[in-house]
Amino acid sequence: MGFGLPWALAGLVAVSIPILAHLLRRQKLPKQTLPTIAFLHRIHATRAARLRVVDMLLLITRALLIAALVLVAASPYRVVQSSLLDRQHALAIVFDDSLSMSAVYEGKTLIERAAALAAEQIRKLPEGSEVSVVLSGKSPRVWVRRRSDLEMLETVFGEFDGRSTRGDAMCDAVQAAVELLLQSELGDRRLLVVSDFTEGTRAETCDWPSRGIRVAFETVSAPNPDNRRIASVEVVGERNAADGMRLDVQIRGTSTRSQQTLRMRQKGQETQKASVRPTGDGGEASLEISPGATDAVVELQLDPDDVLPADNVRGVLLGSDTVHVLLVDGDPHPDPRKRETAFVSHVLGVAPRIGRSFAVETLDAQDLSESAIIRSDVVVLANATLDEKWLPLIQRYVGGGGSLWITAGDRVNPRAYGSVLSELLPGRYTATRMEARPLSLDSKTLPELGQAKVRGRTPIAEASLDAVVTARFSDGAAAMLEHRYRSGRVAMLATTIDDAWTDLPYQPVFVPFVLDTLLRLAGRTEHSVEPYAAVSLPGSTQSQRIQVVTPSGRTIDLSEADRVAFRETGEIGAYRVLVNGVVGARFAFVVDAPSAESDLVSKGAPDVQSDFEPVTPGASSGVEQPLAPLLLLLVIVLLFFELWLRQIRRR
């Protein structure tokens, strides 16, 4: 038995009121002499015993009445054993299968222990009950949807995979479980949450049901959650630099191990190892990578394993800062200085001086190839006449995360761009025209653009809804327009990128204008993703085979499609993407263990009113049943009894 408002029990002091009143009343009775008192004795003698009983009953009744009222105010409840509640009910189990639940304790992971608990809960359910199971690892999944085949469910939990690399999405899982319960026709609806309730669970932020659904929590946690993880890796140097690269690795967390080693693997082979130097909050280590490393990614592993091995692994992308730019020259010239892309090439050549690294490849428009495009972060179509055969290639490229910068010129055919790439472009080129009076440019981010003069332009009209104008002509028309297309970005410039229509290339602002534009467009999708997150990759084609190699070395062929949402990202570590069998640096990615999952200290169940006791192995089950209605009934009975006693006393 328990009380919802235990402080209200202080009111039990009021029970003394009728007792004190009784005693005071006895003391204060007026005295009266009466010669015929013998007759009172004679009558009272037969009545006195009864009166004493009635008085005592009145006293007890009044005391009980007050006590019952106080107890009602204290919201009492009792835990009723399941045998008393053998009625069918709908049970939704929110099962935490996040990474922290993979912690190993006495040879078993917390997931395996939680699965045993859940199976026990299901075993105790009355026949005809309905069970749903929602897994709260990110992303939450409905694992069992309103099933009544309890024996099957028990078996399923027995075969549960005890390890996970998922983040936590408890709140979404709770929402899904509540929706399942609300779909049930059974009146008794219960929500059981089985979790370690660590920091990463964030259960206290969830929207817990308050009416119509009883909620209970079962905490499963490791008693000694010492755990270390690779917290961060800083890549120092360039992949192709002469003096090689260095990885500075930070380790966080506590460990009972006196000595730990950090091992580095490339293509599955251990290439280096270093001892972890202890620091105040963990440790640190450095690893050298010799010049000419051929792989775009490496894997680090902390050895030996602790209670949570999954966060001891980390994939590292090498050279991810280099932007690969493909310049497609639509107006080639034998003299490189007179090419359409000459000024941009010059700018990219001086870029390392300002700390940025560009890998530049220049092709004539007629030499454009699929492999060249896929290797690039940004493709610049400089005054290029659009060929329809490029369309599927460019669509797949941009949709898969590539970026496109189209610059105007006399070779740009607005009609072809408008009809072929209309969906892809942020606007539509209109007829080219030469201005009688030069126009200036206006940009909020680069005010110096105002120094440039523009004599000719291919105006852009009908901008898409999501288009952003980054620069305008002095007459207000858009000079530079950008928008996102699927995972990629597309920008259009209304004038040339050489000196044919404008003196912009001669202006100092041209350098930051080009670099900012390219870096902005090259802002790739995240290279580091959470476990099981979808990674957008280009699909295979007839001429190009795309494969993904997982951290464990498994090779997965991607299906033929413009783009593929690759979801087999459950392993922690580095994923390589092969284009026709060759490692492509642009699409390599790593899956990191969710950092919040490494904190294994349980915070306990959230401070939510728990309505029923879940079944624990070896213990009988029960629910909290409010006793206030029964007590109110008792109060009414006591009131009537008190009135009746008073009548009896008066007779």
């Binding site: 009775l29 005295k31 009266q32 010669p35 009172l40 004679r42 009558i43 009272h44 009166l51």
Partner: protein, 291 residues
């Protein structure tokens, strides 16, 4: 004893005559018929002679006519000997109003004494509780009346309970033979033999009047709140709610009064319930009218 006999009461009762119902023997002649047969101006009856009769009472003329010994009876007016008995037990000293039972009873007895004295009758006084406390001989005259009233006003202090059968038995010895005995008491002696002496008093030839003096509160128990009741003669106290048992109390008191009346009347005596809230003259008038 300023209130024992109010002057106003004495004037109003001056014209009334107390006639004893039965003749009493006494030495002084008066308005009362003598139970003694003998020489008198008023012939009463003849009856057959029985051995032991005074031969001087034989009517020889009647013998000559009927050849049978006949006794000639005459009525005599004789002096009445009145014995007043006042219960002075503690319970008599109680009253719910201004007048206690003993005050009321004393007033009544004083009035009777006054009347008897005016008629030239001899009056004696006895006060009692569990035994005889005060004892005044039967005398007549103003001086004795004053002495008697003073005694009524200031009777001896009572120390015991009412024990009627003991004290009334002793009263028999005091009252002598063939007189008027007036007993004023609340009769709160609940023993079965309490009123047995009344029959024995009657058997001695007395005309006995029992004035059962009760306070209205004793008869009606008019209290409304629960109270701590205490007795006056050593009874244990009791806490009761009078409202709860009033009906049964009144039934019990009525039964007690009825029982007293039945036993007194059965003994041949007169019974009169006297409420202290009734004016004493009403009681006296009732007593004299029903004479």
């Amino acid at each position: 004893m300023t209130h024992v006999l109010e002057p106003e009461l004495a004037v109003r009762l001056a014209g009334l005559t107390l006639r004893a119902k039965r003749t009493v023997d006494g030495l002084l002649a008066g308005m009362h018929r003598s139970p003694h047969r003998g020489a008198s101006a008023i012939f009463k009856e003849h009856r057959a002679y029985r051995p032991g009769d005074d031969p001087r009472l034989i009517d020889w003329r009647a013998y000559a006519r009927s050849d049978r010994y006949t006794i000639k009876h005459f009525e005599h007016e004789t002096q009445l000997r009145g014995t007043l008995a006042l219960d002075i037990s503690p319970s008599m000293h109680w009253g719910s109003g201004e007048v206690s039972k003993i005050d009321h009873a004393a007033t009544l007895l004083a009035a009777i004494a006054y009347l008897l004295t005016r008629q030239g009758d001899a009056v004696s006084l006895v006060t009692f509780d569990e035994e005889i406390r005060d004892q005044l001989p039967a005398r007549s005259g103003p001086a004795h009346l004053e002495y008697l009233m003073r005694t009524l006003a200031e009777p001896s202090r009572s120390t015991g309970q009412t024990r009627l059968h003991v004290s009334l038995d002793k009263l028999i010895e005091h009252a002598g033979r063939m007189g008027l005995v007036v007993i004023a008491s609340d009769l709160l002696d609940l023993e079965n033999e309490a009123l047995d002496p009344v029959a024995r008093i009657q058997a001695r030839g007395h005309q006995t009047i029992v004035l059962h003096v009760m306070d209205p509160a004793e008869l009606e128990l008019p209290y409304e709140q629960p109270m701590h009741f205490e007795g006056l003669e050593g009874e244990s106290p009791v806490e009761v709610d009078p409202k709860g048992l009033r009906r049964r109390y009144i039934e019990a008191i009525d039964a007690f009064v009825e029982s007293c009346q039945r036993r007194v009347v059965a003994a041949g005596a007169r019974y009169l319930l006297v409420r202290t809230d009734t004016p004493p003259e009403h009681t006296l008038l009732q007593l004299l009218r029903e004479g």
